[in-house]
């Protein structure tokens, strides 16, 4: 937690430069909030008398995620204005997010103009894996923070400076709980589960699956060795999210990847209608 203000930017978020050398933007208070002050009496009077300050109820009726949602809306506009598609990729640690991204960037080569924003609590290992395949990448270290928020994505986009019309993969912090609550302003949410995690994940983490635009079951090469019922998993997802797309693949053997590449292809045009429907709603 920030010792200056104890603010919700708990964590000394660090955003790397494109060459990965050094973190820029140490916690700098880009957010607009008042720091708390101890209560002091503004008036200058002696206190031998007892006056009651009248108790008052003040109505707020404000969404607690309003600030993040506002920043997310700003990101969404920024992305739409440049025709950039941002895909928020979420999973438990180790489900295969980085492996799938590395494989995708390698396989598609020049067909897909893309950059990556890597979210991890510590280390830049994942960013190094992306950089090794020659793509621009920004590492965001969230420290104690367990998710990316819209403010962090904005800082990541500033540092990445993606080309108009390109794709930005955002690898969120490995966690199936709170990344679902923090809208980043992304074009679509991609949730990955691996067959080694068990097929009850959708039931255990319904918020994540409810928010998903695409659910990927990864590590299908291991299906013969584990007790994972793909149909049952899909049935659970349908119960909480009837509209999500669903793919089964192996990021290491390449099995099923063609459908993922088709999805990436299709969602380029889809992103237009998505942005439209979002702006219609507002």
């Amino acid at each position: 937690m920030c010792t200056t203000c104890g603010c919700g930017d708990e964590t000394n978020t660090r955003v790397s430069t494109l060459d990965g050398t050094q973190p820029i933007l140490e916690h700098q208070h880009p957010h607009e909030h008042e720091h708390p002050h101890p209560h002091e009496h503004p008036h200058t009077h002696e206190h031998p008398h007892t006056h009651e300050h009248q108790p008052v109820t003040i109505t707020l009726e404000q969404n607690l995620l309003a600030k993040n949602d506002l920043l997310a809306a700003r990101n969404r506009g920024w992305l739409a204005g440049r025709g950039i598609r941002a895909l928020n990729v979420m999973s438990s640690p180790g489900a295969g997010k980085t492996t799938l991204l590395v494989r995708t960037l390698t396989d598609l080569g020049g067909q897909l103009q893309a950059g990556v924003i890597e979210g991890d609590q510590e280390t830049s290992l994942d960013a190094d894996r992306i950089r090794a395949v020659g793509r621009p990448v920004i590492q965001i270290n969230t420290g104690a923070g367990c998710h990316l928020d819209a403010d962090m994505l904005q800082r990541g986009l500033d540092a990445l400076d993606p080309q108009p019309g390109s794709t930005v993969f955002v690898e969120n912090v490995g966690n199936l709980v709170c990344p679902a609550l923090f809208d980043l302003g992304e074009t679509a949410k991609v949730v990955i589960i691996s067959v080694t995690e068990g097929d009850d994940k959708p039931q255990k983490y319904p918020h994540m699956f409810m928010a998903a635009d695409l659910v990927i079951v990864n590590k299908s090469d291991l299906l013969p060795y584990v007790d994972f019922d793909v149909d049952d998993c899909l049935r659970q997802i349908r119960q909480i999210n009837p509209r999500a797309d669903f793919l089964v693949l192996s990021a290491t053997t390449g099995d099923g990847l063609a459908a993922w590449y088709d999805w990436l292809d299709g969602s380029t045009s889809r992103s237009d209608s998505l942005t439209e429907s979002l702006s219609d709603a507002h």
């Binding site: 104890g6 919700g8 708390p36 404000q62 609550l181 009837p242």
Partner: protein, 109 residues
Amino acid sequence: MHELSITQSLVYAVLECTGERPVTGVNLRIGPLSGVLPDAMRFCFDIVSAGTSLAGAQLKIDEPKGQARCRSCGTEFELEDLILLCPCGSADVEVLSGRELMVMSVEVA
């Protein structure tokens, strides 16, 4: 624990409005589909409010039930959790309420 950052948003939202006046009560509404656990909010609130004009304020949390409407048969029903299934068997269900994550009002001295 995302309740920590959400509680911090809460404290700042309140301070923005109350300034330096001591806050004695904070009223929240947290729906069952909000993804936030009321108990975790209570726990975080004591930590986050310490040293501010919200310290010691009573946190009251209204926990309304969720409501949904079936698009197939039109029935409205209560949501216990995130399993969106109409008694008729259809999963084509519209969530009417339950996602609330709101600060409703505060009491200042």
